[in-house]
Amino acid sequence: MPQILVENLVKTFRIAERQPGIGGAIKGLVSRRYRTVKALDGISFSLEAGELVGYIGPNGAGKSTTVKALSGILVPDSGKCVVLGHVPWKDRQAYVAQIGVVFGQRTQLWWDLPVVESFDLLRAIYRVPQPQYAAKRDELIALLNLEPLLDVPVRQLSLGQRMRCDLAAALIHSPSLLFLDEPTIGLDAVSKLAVRDFVRRLNRDDGVTVILTTHDMDDIEALCSRLIVIGGGHILSDGTLDDLRNRVARQRWLILDLAQAGVVVEDPDITVIAQDGSRVTLAFDPAMVPPAALISRITAKYEVQDLFVQNPPIETIIARLYGEAQ
């Protein structure tokens, strides 16, 4: 029995449509037109314990809706969903005691209280026995380097500090399943690395199943063994990151800083994606032309100051996948 089983999940929202201008506003008072939006249109997947899955898609694809349904906050219209042996929205109280949730754009800490008091409160709410709590708290404090933050009221924390505290708060009760909804949003590089490091360790050492939604390509590359891509309420792809790359486009990007601006780079194996002054972005297929050969050919022909090769951003891949789906 998988840890999470989702079958044919459907959720629609009814949105009042408003016409622009004063006229529209007055009209809206009398008769209102509604538009239904299918946020989830038959989502199915299953997850085994110990997986670390990236759940990604463009804005409005249904990521957060899925997370909310899985964490028992939202009641879907139809479909089946069993997580840790519970239907999340049916026996909410028993179920949520076993999961941890972090919504990156919100905080679960008490705004006016010092961080450590929020932890104490959560201990009481989750009824964690005192010795177990003390051990877990100290472990989290050490791992996330929270010692200097403990007595600071939450409102005085920076975003990165707050996110580290929020992660700790979500784990006080040692959940076996963790939902992370955009945990690195708005964080600086150092904080992002700290969060990623922590999530990886949590999954590897403690066997916590993690579902991560994000827009950050690096999060996915650094963490996820499996990637579920959703768009328009459907699952577009489910597999490893390499699977996804190979399925959509085996493309790689070569980015050049030329010595002179405005030089046109030409080669039979490349397509120019963008040119901005002296910076040129080229796309090529590594199966058709070995990257080393291509680079030596181009550097021989043009005067290149700097270059690097990268995978196309996840947004590009998803956008393409999304385009294919339509």
């Binding site: 957060s64 964490s71 028992g72 906050i73 939202l74 109280q93 949520v96 905080t107 709410i125 909804d181």
Partner: protein, 263 residues
């Protein structure tokens, strides 16, 4: 300590920090109390009819009201309103607690903490200088204590209901304007309820608001005889059950249709 007690205690401790607010509240209550006393003194001096309450009783009633003003369910829980507006309420829903109990505990803390801060100094000052009388008898004192606990529970139930209504309306402005008027009038805070016209009496007697101000105060003064206490207690119990039941029902209904917007 259960989660409910913990959230009560956290909220209580936080509210106790607001010394400036308590001091300002004390000053305001004192000022209004003096004005209300003067109004009633003028009223009694110019009236030749027999009134349902004596002047000294009315003055005691007024100072009790000024002391326990913060018990009134004036506003929604500011933290929960904020959570509902920003969507952080999502976190409240992933806690393994009964959400109504959780919000009720917060509402009660929200009433008790400011009341404790203001009531004790106000009662001492009013008792020493302003004509507040002690309870009519020790029995009345004990019964008043019990009735005040009832008032806290009632106020908490009304606050919780107001807070839950935010899940529908999002903005609490309407409730925040409407409730003070209703509560001030029907609780007896504005004018002791016995002074209202006879035609009003059945209405104010039937409503739950009088259990917050009028009933406990009149028990204190010995204005309501012990023979009526059981009936009053029963009515209060019924109202509490109704309001809590209603709050629970509304909350569970709104949970089913709740949409936490935004990513």
């Amino acid at each position: 300590m259960s989660g409910y007690a913990a959230v009560f205690s956290a909220r209580f401790r936080m509210l106790l920090q607001y010394r400036a607010a308590a001091l300002a509240g004390f000053g305001t209550q004192l000022f209004w109390g003096l004005i209300r006393v003067m109004i009633f003194e003028a009223f009694f001096a110019s009236s030749s009819h027999a009134q349902p309450m004596r002047l000294d009783e009315t003055i005691t009633y007024i100072w009790l009201g000024q002391a326990l003003f913060a018990l009134l369910p004036f506003r929604t829980d500011p933290d929960v309103s904020q959570m509902i507006r920003t969507g952080s309420v999502a976190y409240e829903l992933v806690r393994p607690v009964d959400l109504y109990g959780f919000w009720y505990a917060r509402a009660v803390a929200d009433r008790v903490a400011p009341t404790v801060l203001r009531a004790i100094p106000m009662m001492i000052v009013a008792w020493l200088f302003l004509g507040l009388r002690p309870p009519a008898s020790w029995e009345c004192g004990v019964a008043w204590g019990i009735a005040t606990v009832g008032a806290v529970l009632m106020s908490g139930a009304i606050t919780a209901l107001m807070t839950i209504s935010l899940l529908w309306t999002m903005a609490g402005d309407g409730i925040a304007r409407l409730m003070p008027t209703i509560v001030l009038f029907f609780s007896g805070m504005l004018v002791p309820l016995v002074f209202l016209p006879a035609s009003f009496q059945p209405i104010v007697d039937a409503l739950p608001f009088r259990d917050i101000i009028d009933v406990p105060f009149r028990i204190y003064m010995g204005h309501l005889p012990p023979s009526q206490w059981p009936a009053l207690l029963a009515q209060e119990g019924i109202w509490l059950a109704v309001l809590i039941g209603l709050g629970r029902w509304f909350l569970s209904r709104s949970m089913r249709r709740l949409v936490v917007q935004g990513g």
